[in-house]
Amino acid sequence: MSSSKSNIRMGVFLCGCGRNIAATVDVDQVAEKSKKIDDVVYVEVNKYTCSETGQAALRSAVREHKLNRVVVASCSPLLHLETFKTTVEQAGINAYLLEMANIREHCSWVHQQNPKAATDKAFELVEMAAAKARYLVPQKEPEVSIIPKAMVIGGGVAGIQAAMDLANSGHQVYLVERTPTIGGIMAVLDKTFPTMDCSICILGPKMSDVQNHPNITLMAYSEVQEISGFVGNFKAKVLHKPRFVTDACTACDECTQVCPISIPNEVDGHLSWRKAIYMPFPQAVPSTFLIDTNYCHGVNPIACAKCRDVCREKGADCINYDDQERMEEIEVGTIIVATGFKPFDASKVPEYGWGRYPNVVTTLEFERLFNASGPTEGHLIRPSDHKPPQKVGFVQCVGSRDQRFNTYCSNFCCLETVKCALLIKEHWPETEITVFYVDIRAFGKGFEELYRKAREEGVQFVRGRPSEIQEDPETQNLTLFVEDTITQKLIQPEFDMVVLSIGADPPDLTNFPLPLAKGSDGFLLEAHPKLRPVDTASRGIFIAGGVESPKDIKESVTQASAAAARASQLMVKGKVTIEPIFAEVDSSLCTSCGVCVTRCPYGAISIQIKGETPAVVNTALCEGCGTCAADCPADCIQMHHFTDFQILEQIRAALKRNPEEKAIIFACSFCSYLGADLAGVSRMQYPTNGRVIRTICAGRVDPDFVYEAFNLGAGAVALTGCHPQDCHFISGNRFAAKREKKIRNWLKKQNIADERFEIEWVSAGEGKKFQQLMTRMSEAAVAFSKTKE
């Protein structure tokens, strides 16, 4: 134990995590070595530090040994930092006197083949944590009030459910829907599996409940343009698009009779026509018409005005050609994102001929051909000659489980097909139906029973994926080429109609006003895949439904209720504590240059008179990214809990031994650190000489950190963060990337090879990319160390 005179009394708690850490890392050896770290007065090994036994041991050790700093070496801080913060507070010391060393995701799980080196690395990770812990100071978490209102983005079944649950719990809800009506994909389906309920019959009443609920403000045909603020206090700008029809509209339908413009109806999969003035479908909510400006004769009474005239004739006056788009600003405490997935675009698979052969339709189009309010009023006909089909083929996994399109299984398409096949059999039992599948996944409650029923009704299931569909130009019948893998013979069956069971494409979030982390599949990432499935990395923002992964109605509704409960949990408290990670300006050193002001995306830092008065931070607005601190030429801005000195101490500790073999990786808390954790969870192995230092944002990485690492002899350094458009702090990583030129110039002057420094964007879903980066940086370091020999 240390005999230093400092008044710091540090305790180190090493977790074996059952065998998760202990199988690779010799935890006892790390414990022995840790005893010699300066200021460490107590070391303990736990089987599970996070268990109640482990936490109790930690609490009593803090009290007994009068510890005033705690290092827990276990899993990722993103998993259990909150747990241990509570534990040390219970033991009577400030939660910010705790530091974690990630010896599981960043060590034992990624170095399984190399226990010795993993053990050495684990000890050095403890040293790094101790180096930072030594200089930690207590912080107070400020409390802010929460606006007891929520915004739900997306009015599909998930958004509707979330809005209703929140509204019924007494919260005010804004439900924002991009299209003219709520209802989403569920509203256009005919029946639902496995119960064969009528889709709109169970959704319709919910939709009108939304419209009539006193706590819900429905904003249909509106888009969220901008979101700012933080948990409890978000500001959103919502753009209301003009409908040109007032709320007084009674949906009498006279206007569509006179409208001269007919266009293919997107709700019916373009299989029917609608007018330029229209209502998407009879049960639409809000149940008013609107004018489609893309097709109307100019929305101008001089050009046409037939609809306005007939409306006036009927004694109403609902057409308003002067309607304009309108921006509304709302303030909410929590946000639920439920924007859904996109149906797969079947034209991407040209070998199946969708879009070229009229009798090849998707499952969604089939739903309309079967729907009482669809183009055929529920009479199944094939598009080419409007005759009822005698032989129908279904092709599974269209666009799903396919490296060329979406690699994932879309979850709902198997039962969607089983349902459609049964619907045909119910009305026209003599129809021959064959389903071509690779695997049938009937995993849900009642699914297998429905699959069996389809077999009993005579639906044929052939295992084999068709390579091609060919159309007979005369009959417009379709021939499939497929190997029946059970009989091992090529068959070329002919059908009147083929239905492609399409899966889900990821949502298009290109202009989405929130920087939410996406997985490599393009769907939004949850904060934890098992334990926080509807939370995001941003507090107060939740996800539900198809935007998170492809899912059916029941799963969407379940998730929506969960998200609503999570949001409600925050709002009922009325107050929320926020992390005290703010910028603080040392006004005695500030030169009032104004660089920090240009760096802050929140307007949290200001200078009254440039060149004269020092910069001032508004802590209520500061989000703690640290971009200002990194770019401050006078180095007079400090980030609480992530100070320059604390980070430099971590770097120094990491490079104490054999610095030339080490690679220092700076990782942001919202993407790349999560990517590193994912590599760990996925057991993606990489060399042991990388050392990850967590910062809040890539913007926090001061070039001085990079210089210090190289000055100490580091083999390689990498700066990582979210992909540019995903930066949690809007522009932090953009400014980080701007430092590259400056850093490279410095490297050149120091005669440091270019490949020893890298800037790489790693999303939370890119474990593989992180593994590759670590391997590359490690190789660069090893190559450098060889030149030193």
Binding site: R404, R465, P466, S467, F481, T485, K489, L490
Partner: protein, 160 residues
């Protein structure tokens, strides 16, 4: 020496096994294969299956892959991105290396090489070319072809 070759071949088969490991046995390859259309015993999916299962005992003696015409339809249709045509090329190489019997037709093709054509330019073909306004098939330089066969070691292999 023979043992070394055997081990070498096994290692290479294991590499091929890894390439086909993502195969779901969906049979897109078979459905797209022009050879399988006429001969159900020549099934590209079955070759992939045998490799994926590590059943190497008679995989090289199997004639199926010799009939691959390298049209790449299987690769183009494979949803899992398995480079099946490449796998067939490798199997052919390994079969020769392991001195496995080569199907008669392939031997015939080998013999034809001395004429400079794999498939001869029949009068029918020449007629078609004329219609399409294409020049007649040129006479190959036999010496050059022989040299390629010698340098590549193929003529030696064909003899043995």
């Amino acid at each position: 020496m023979e043992k070394i070759i055997e081990q070498d071949i096994k290692a290479k088969l294991e590499e091929l096994s890894k390439l086909v490991a993502p195969c779901l046995q969906c049979a897109s390859c078979a459905a797209a294969c022009p050879v399988f259309q006429t001969h159900f015993e020549r099934n590209p999916r079955q070759v992939a299956l045998r490799l994926a299962r590590g059943d190497f005992s008679d995989v090289l003696a199997d004639e199926a892959f010799w009939w691959c015409g390298s049209c790449y339809s299987c690769e183009a249709h494979c949803p899992q991105g398995v480079p099946l045509t490449h796998v067939f090329f490798e199997l052919k190489r390994l079969a020769v290396e392991a001195s496995k019997p080569v199907p008669k037709l392939i031997q015939k093709i080998g013999e034809r090489l001395s004429e400079g054509f794999i498939s001869p330019a029949t009068p029918d073909v020449q007629e078609k070319r004329k219609k399409l306004d294409l020049p007649p098939v040129a006479k190959p330089d036999l010496q050059e072809i022989q040299k390629i066969l010698d340098v590549s070691g193929l003529s030696q292999k064909l003899k043995s």
